[in-house]
Homo-oligomer: 346 residues x 2
């Protein structure tokens, strides 16, 4: 390591990085962590009378994140958010996480430390703790994998299965902002400064897991199925439908397209409906419930979190399939996107 140059991972070695990680993590470790990073495994107290939730999500540089566009803390925060969002989608609460990072030895150590800080502070913000990890050398792109343990009371658990024909389909918050942010970055708008752009960039770089919303929905005991929107409605809704053995009808004019997404889409020449249905990474919750229950659920979510809930469609029989219905009543496959839609209609 040359004097004056920032240290690289290869200079520090595993032991010093583990020690540093331990310093960062121990400041945030909460209740129940008996042994954090540094032993063969972490050791935590079990919360009894609850079910254990276990999930993992992997991100690859230049596929899921880009070093030139996002700060290391944002990359780490997003890796954790993906997992927190999965726990939210079960109606659960996050507990403990471990994170593995593969990175080339010449990577500045500061970058890995920034990613670790993003992982740790995001977990902490939602009541979880990072209790261990692994750091390995790789000739390839950075790879970050987070595994998260959470908990849920058995009678609050919400699965992808459970939706019934006649149920309402609803989402929290708004759709399309994260995808608008990614399109803006790809088209070179990242350095410009205008309010809607800042909003969609933040949505893309710092999405928030809907944990409190998920708990509020589960606590009403009125939802029949739930999942999070990580890949976008067009990819995710069919998964919920497959698990529940049902079809779905989504009304295009009811989709809560994010206003900033709409504004940015107009500037960058993208279609806001496509971004809202096919963009992904919004991490909103998609759920179903009896028609009469959606008002109660929306009120409960709004009361405890301030987040809006919007009914966007209804569950139909599996034979009817999954369709997006336009204002004029035309049906199209979900995911075709409204630019194709419009083109075909004219």
């Amino acid at each position: 390591m040359s004097p004056g140059e920032p240290p690289r991972i290869g200079d520090l070695g595993e032991n010093r990085l583990v020690a540093r990680f331990r310093e960062l993590a121990s400041a945030e470790a909460g209740r129940g962590v008996l042994i954090g990073p540094g032993d063969d495994t972490a050791v935590v107290r079990i919360e009894s009378n609850r079910l254990l939730l276990l999930t993992c999500d992997m991100m690859v540089e230049e596929v899921h994140f880009w070093r030139q566009w996002a700060r290391p803390e944002q990359i780490g925060a997003k890796a954790m958010t993906q997992n927190l969002s999965d726990v939210a989608a079960m109606g659960g609460e996050p507990g403990f996480a471990v994170a593995s990072i593969a990175a080339p030895g010449e990577l500045p150590a500061q970058m890995v430390e920034g990613i670790a800080q993003g992982l740790i502070s995001t977990a902490s913000r939602y009541g979880a703790a990072v209790v261990g990890g692994d750091l390995v050398g790789s000739p390839g792109p950075m790879v970050i994998d987070v595994a998260l343990v959470g908990w849920v009371e058995e009678d609050l658990l919400l699965l992808r299965r459970g939706a019934r024909a006649g149920d309402v389909i609803a989402v929290t918050g708004s759709l399309g902002a994260s995808a608008a942010g990614l399109v803006a970055l790809r088209q070179g708008f990242g350095d410009q400064r205008w309010p809607e752009l800042a909003q969609v960039l933040q949505a893309h770089h710092e999405p928030r897991p809907r944990l409190a919303e998920g708990r509020a929905i589960a606590a009403t005991r009125q939802a029949t199925a739930m999942m999070d929107l990580s890949d976008g409605l067009a990819d995710d809704l069919p998964r919920l439908c497959a698990e529940s053995g049902v079809g779905a009808r989504i009304y295009a004019d009811r989709l809560p397209v994010d206003p900033a997404c709409a504004a940015v889409a107009a500037r960058v020449g993208a279609d806001p409906f496509t971004l809202a249905t096919s963009g992904g990474e919004d991490y909103e919750l998609l759920f179903t419930c009896a028609r009469g229950a959606v008002g109660e659920i929306a009120a409960a979510v709004s009361r405890s979190t301030g987040t809006a809930v919007t009914a966007i469609g209804e569950v139909v029989s599996a034979e009817e399939g999954i369709a997006l219905v336009s204002t004029g009543g035309e049906r199209r496959a979900l995911g075709t996107g409204f630019d194709h839609f419009g083109a075909q209609r004219s």
Copy 2:
């Protein structure tokens, strides 16, 4: 996908791979798994009155494994074994795992399926279940990350901290076989057939986690500290010493160098002591206990598993540091290896 060509990951898509993974995993899923792969998270029943153990280990192609040397099932088995071994080192029992794989889209789907089979069958062999995972595309080398949840009774938990000056240092089994296997592969001996080579190749490709041994050691309540040997004695012992605030003296002539390692080392021109102290991937357990207790522990381990336990040294004060003592009484830093040792002595 051309007719007649084996399908590649990119041809199948995530949904079909998840479905296939689910098929494989569900056949092996055991007690307690309410929801396996396919929902936002896995859901499992908590074993009450025990502490939860959580660990992860990442492997990178061309760094930790080589496609031309190992079958996909062996790669998956080793990724799982690393984690099972960590749980063994706490005195615990494995419960549930999730696995993430990053792989290029042109990789034959058969390879990922083989890796998944290795992960699942190895978990199952030791009473654990793979309950979820993530598969992502990557332009870089394959990366496999496994996270494992285990359990341990509070009074059986063994940490790296706890070793006291005067304690005996002991290991299960023998050392160096896995490293001898790797050296033989690197030197192109992989295609030859002789008994000791077959043994070290198996030790390298299919190491076994010492779960029953770890439980037996913990059940005696006589061990003071424990860890697994994943990076080799020279790297791992200092970690146990640092946690316990002690030093160590290892007697070279007491090291249980694997006989097959010694035989292969002679043929490939490597030093067996270096392989045994610095090679890594033996996944034996290293533990400490009062001098009077080692006989009882060795008897308990032998009775329940048939595995040998060997006293290899003693815990000393931190000031004395960590040293390897030769037959003639000379002290060297552990990890210098006996080839250097001999060269310096002459």
